[in-house]
């Protein structure tokens, strides 16, 4: 995984950077810059530089979400948070949205195990489906793609730490199990982990001292 990521630096994470995208569309992997000079990259072996949903970009998305005009609606108008908060409240869940047949919803629910992933320092959560991965390495690869702060070779199996490329801090991958205990990822066999994991937290190393069976309040 190359180090020369093209994720927008935090300093330029305002609406302007997204506004400057060309409206001329080119084919390419998500998250690449859209300059026409860049050739489409279907070839296998081309590594993603970054994902569309790198967390800084998602922070941008959330910011922009506050600024659109609130249109008047019928009696089911949802309250829309505007202005003050940096991260607006998510829209209320509404019956029948997205419009997916309940059979499909139920079937996919049954065959997926969605858990939330939190990263210390990131303002939002992501969801992953643990059922689609077959090993811890698989899962880390996906986390790396999602959060773009880590690289697989930064994962130190021995000490079970991930090194964040962005800020160089070490992260410890932890999860909360069925007994509400916080455990280190990798402690138990993969299948057992999938079965017992309720949510995942990539904790800053400094906070993870003495982690074993450790109850969080």
């Amino acid at each position: 995984m190359s180090q020369d990521t093209t994720v927008d630096s935090p300093e330029s994470s305002d609406g302007a950077s997204l506004m400057s995208f060309d409206t001329e569309l080119t084919l390419g992997l998500p998250g690449e810059s859209r300059s026409p000079a860049r050739a489409p990259a279907f070839a296998q072996g081309h590594k993603k530089n970054c994902t569309k949903r790198g967390f800084m970009e998602t922070v941008i998305d959330l910011n922009l979400g506050t600024s659109h005009i609130s249109m008047p609606r019928g009696q089911n108008s949802e309250s829309r948070v505007s202005g003050t908060g940096k991260y607006p409240a998510a829209k209320a869940q509404v019956t029948g949205w997205p419009p997916v047949r309940s059979f499909r919803k139920k079937t996919l629910e049954g065959s997926s195990k969605l858990v939330k992933v939190a990263v210390d320092g990131a303002p939002y959560l992501r969801k992953v489906d643990l059922q689609i991965y077959s090993s811890y390495q698989d899962l880390f690869r996906a986390l790396e793609e999602m959060f773009t702060c880590f690289t697989t070779r930064d994962y130190n199996m021995e000490e079970r730490k991930l090194t964040g490329a962005l800020n160089g801090r070490e992260y410890v991958p932890t999860y909360e199990d069925k007994d509400d205990d916080w455990m280190l990822l990798g402690d138990v066999p993969w299948k057992m982990f999938v079965e017992s994991c309720k949510r995942i937290r990539l904790m800053k190393s400094s906070e993870a001292v003495g982690l074993g069976k450790y109850k969080f309040s």
């Binding site: 998500p30 949903r53 609606r73 029948g96 997205p98 997916v100």
Partner: protein, 569 residues
């Protein structure tokens, strides 16, 4: 007008197969009406409450195949209370009492009881085909009756049905003498199945062309079934879980290579994704692939698979394919006609406008689209419209309600406008994202062939709905939710609704008074108000806004089976 004896005309009518054409033929003169009605074998009823079974049987005594649709489309999304209606029993009962030699029954969004299936199975000696889509209300006991009693059964096809009570013995109820099966689809059943009985059934069904299995059929059984039925054209794999070094898997690989007729593949409800190589030989000939229930096939394994599918015409997939995966589809599947991308509920690698643009550029034959995505831009839609003016079905669902173009922060009016202007043969359209009345102006102006329109969280005023009602002359079904359309829009052209099958409006601005006015003016419409909240009493306040209204044209007046919470005005 009649230069020929009736038999000759009837013979000519044999070549007129589409219902639309036959309807037209029947209007020419009385004589043709009579000949047509006596010779019609296949009848399609788009709304089971528009007509009574007795009248259908009276007009078409030679009926062999009946297709019925019950609940409105938005029932799929839990917008309709459970007991609203759509029971098929009265139809089967009426048919059973008559002398109709029913051979085929196809139902969509109807409630089917075990009793009904039992009655069906016993009443029609030549019954051959049962197709149920999004139906409910029965158990495997009903299936057992069908299996046991329909001696010449050719087709049993269950699609997207929730059958709770599930014991796998129904499959044993096919008698040994039943050798006529052509199509068997029980992929949606959740429970166990008697594997031995299934193997024996397939072994004695030489005409079997379509077989879709459920999750409970393991790999070694699959292999045995394929050995017995190498002539299969359509295969649905339930479970694809195995140890790659196992003999079962090696055998399966070899068997699959022999199944040269498979053109359609689906399922993979349970899958170990790492070695899908057994499937690759099949991929080369596939015209239809449905992986929309296979979240386990993703990433590079999925892309590898797609690269083999050069002949694909229909692809149903989850959004975990990502824009990158859609790029591969665009590159590989030049024959693609229909694409459906469903939401997987997972955040990483969902699709955006990029994937859609890639597809529209790479797949010139694409005409049918269902696309759930994170975002869409006007520029992308304009590009899609330029690339492809063939769309007959264009359904776009941006998961974030009322989301504007993220680049310009504008509504998506211009984008959808470009689509309707370019795609002159568009028959079905679903909108999403931030939309003003302007998009409806475009739709009214350009969507001349539009038959079905789905609107959610869109528009600013009654003008929006009026543009559509005035402009779309061929509109048959209009369904609207959470949009600010009120009585003015509803009442401006009441005659319009008799030219349509139905109108659904929920969480809009129409009031009880408005609906009552409409019902009074148009006696041949059933205007149903559906009130499920206990709090909402049927007060007589005309100004009260109506939660859910469903109106449809009908020749038989208010239905007698409406539950308490449905008020037909």
């Amino acid at each position: 007008m009649n230069y020929f004896p009736d038999e000759v005309i009837e013979h000519v009518f044999d070549f007129v197969t589409s219902q639309k054409d036959r309807n037209a033929v029947s209007l020419v003169c009385k004589s043709w009406y009579k000949i047509e009605r006596l010779s019609r074998q296949s009848v399609f009823i788009g709304n089971c409450y528009a007509i009574s079974p007795e009248r259908v049987i009276g007009r078409f005594p030679g009926l062999k195949s009946l297709t019925l649709k019950g609940k409105p489309h938005f029932a799929d999304f839990n917008l309709l209370p459970y007991d609203w209606g759509g029971w098929v029993y009265p139809w089967v009962e009426a048919l059973a009492k008559s002398r109709v030699g029913l051979e085929e029954l196809r139902l969509k969004r109807m409630v089917v009881s075990d009793d009904c299936l039992e009655l069906l199975s016993r009443s029609f000696v030549n019954f051959k085909s049962l197709v149920l889509v999004s139906c409910e209300g029965f158990t495997t006991d009903g299936l057992a009756a069908i299996a046991a009693n329909c001696r010449y059964l050719r087709e049993l096809d269950l699609q997207e049905i929730e059958v709770d009570d599930n014991r796998g013995q129904w499959i044993s109820c096919f008698p040994d003498s039943c050798t006529s099966l052509v199509s068997l689809n029980f992929s949606c059943l959740k429970g166990e199945i008697n594997l031995t009985a299934l193997e024996r059934l397939v072994a004695r069904s030489p005409n079997l062309k379509s077989l879709r299995l459920n999750r409970a059929v393991p790999l070694d059984t699959l292999q045995k079934l394929l050995m017995r039925a190498p002539q299969l054209v359509d295969l649905g794999i339930g479970s694809f879980v195995y140890d790659p070094s196992s003999e079962a898997y090696i055998k399966l690989k070899a068997t699959l290579v022999k199944c040269k007729s498979i053109r359609s593949l689906s399922g993979f409800l349970e899958v170990v994704p790492c070695c899908l190589s057994a499937i690759h030989p099949v991929c080369q000939n596939l015209t239809s692939l449905n992986l929309s229930y296979a979240p386990g096939i993703h990433g590079n394994e999925l892309i590898k698979l797609i690269r083999f599918c050069r002949k694909l015409e229909r692809l149903w997939i989850l959004d975990s394919i990502g824009d990158r995966g859609l790029g591969v589809v665009a590159f590989t599947c030049k024959e693609l006609q229909e694409l459906r991308v469903f939401p997987s509920g997972v955040d990483n690698a969902a699709v955006t406008e990029e994937g859609l643009v890639a597809i529209s550029a790479g797949c010139p034959k694409l005409h049918s689209l269902l696309y759930f995505c994170q975002q869409m831009t006007n520029a992308a839609l304009i590009t899609v419209a330029k690339n492809n003016s063939n769309f007959t079905r264009f359904r776009l669902c941006i998961l974030d309600r009322e989301k504007p173009d993220p680049v310009t922060m504008q509504p998506l009016d211009e984008g959808f406008g470009a689509i309707v202007q370019s795609c002159k043969r568009l028959r079905r359209l679903s909108l999403s994202g931030l939309l003003t009345d302007q998009v409806f102006l475009y739709i009214g102006m350009y969507a001349e062939q539009l038959e079905m329109l789905s609107i959610a969280f869109a528009g600013n005023s009654d003008k929006g709905m009026l543009y559509v009602l005035n402009g779309c002359k061929k509109l048959r079904k209009l369904e609207i939710r959470d949009s600010p359309f009120g009585n003015t829009a509803l009442l401006t052209d009441v005659g319009k609704y008799e030219t349509m099958r139905s109108l659904w409006m929920s969480s809009c601005e129409v009031t009880l008074g408005g609906c009552q006015t409409l019902a009074k003016k148009m006696p041949r419409l059933n205007v149903e108000i559906i009130n499920e909240d206990d709090q909402m009493e049927f007060s007589l306040d005309d100004r009260q806004k109506v939660g859910k209204m469903y109106l449809y044209r009908t020749l038989v007046g208010p239905r007698k089976d409406a539950p308490d919470f449905v008020w037909t005005l």
